[in-house]
Amino acid sequence: MSARHEEFEQRIDRSLAGAGTPEDERLVEEHVRGCAACGEYLSASRRAVAGLKGFSFEAGLGLNAKVMAAVRARAEQMEARRRWMRLSVVALVLTVLGTVVDLSVGRWAAGFFDLRPVEVQHGLMALWIVPSFGLLVLFPVLPLLAAKRQEKGRSI
């Protein structure tokens, strides 16, 4: 094969691949008018590219419905996780707030209600800090348990 043919075949490949310049395309067009070999090369390449459109790949029967069911389930799962996350943040804020109140306002409240400081502290601990801390621990675990239960239900 002559170097000239080779050069034009490369130009043809570049043009088809989208790597050619407008100059490449112009030169190819001019060249193939007078060169049967390069004209055949270009036409075989175009037939090959066109042939790729002769395949039909379709999604399996019912795949769309299956995919959408999975997407909906995942969306619900994610929404539930987000909801629990928000509740966890609230529980965290309550825990921190309870601790601050216990430390800073406990002594003052003891004087005000005529109680011993340690009683106020224990009261706040039992009624505020421990429950909110419990929720803080529980909230992230609940969605995991729910997902596990759902999975178990599906497998049965």
Binding site: A50, L52, L63, A70
Partner: protein, 192 residues
């Protein structure tokens, strides 16, 4: 060109829907892109089995990570990038050669592992396609991938390079090699 992105006008609308995890938007995308996603994965893997599961995984990933699509560029390259990562994981799980491997020297995904008729022979609807099926089956996965993205998805070399995480000259070389193999199939037919 840029079919759905232009048909549906606004990629930003898609990005908004994905950010808000809007199931209706995902449904619209599934209807629009499902067959093309199947086709892309068949080209990458050179097999039909396992593709439906990967398609489902891809849409779940789209739902979960939709926030990372910014709507500034076409949706297709982003979708195919997601699908590609899952295809690589799929091949790794099956201990087949990775699509990440370089073309030089080391083998890439080659012939399909599945037994029986090739997915290309089964999907051929024209005489030319039947002829090309054998050529496609003999190509490496990355070469078939470059062909489908260039000639069927009408992507630019830059877009393909972004999807496959490879330099533009590498992508171009894959297309040249793929084209050469297909051309030889067409020429064989011509000679008969």
């Amino acid at each position: 060109m840029a079919l759905a992105s232009t048909v549906h006008g606004d990629t930003r609308e898609i990005a908004r829907g994905l950010r808000e995890r809007d199931v209706a938007v995902v449904q619209m995308l599934v209807e629009e892109y499902q067959d093309r996603l199947v086709r892309y994965l068949v080209y990458v893997l050179g097999r039909r089995d396992g593709v439906d599961d990967l398609v489902q995984e891809t849409w779940l990933r789209v739902m979960e990570r939709g926030k990372s699509y910014d709507g500034q560029s076409r949706f297709e390259p982003w979708l195919f990038t997601v699908a590609r990562h899952l295809a690589i994981d799929f091949l790794r799980r099956r201990r087949e050669v990775s699509l990440d491997a370089e073309d030089d020297g080391r083998p890439l995904v080659a012939a399909p592992v599945s037994q029986g008729m090739s997915p290309f022979a089964m999907a051929a609807r024209t005489e030319d396609a039947e002829r090309l099926a054998a050529g496609l089956q003999g190509l490496q996965g990355v070469q078939r991938e470059a062909l489908v993205l260039r000639f069927l998805e009408d992507m630019s070399l830059q877009e393909i390079a972004a999807v496959v995480h490879a330099p533009v000259p590498t992508v171009a070389a894959r297309i040249y090699r793929g084209l050469a193999a297909l051309r030889s199939q067409m020429e064989e037919k011509h000679e008969r």
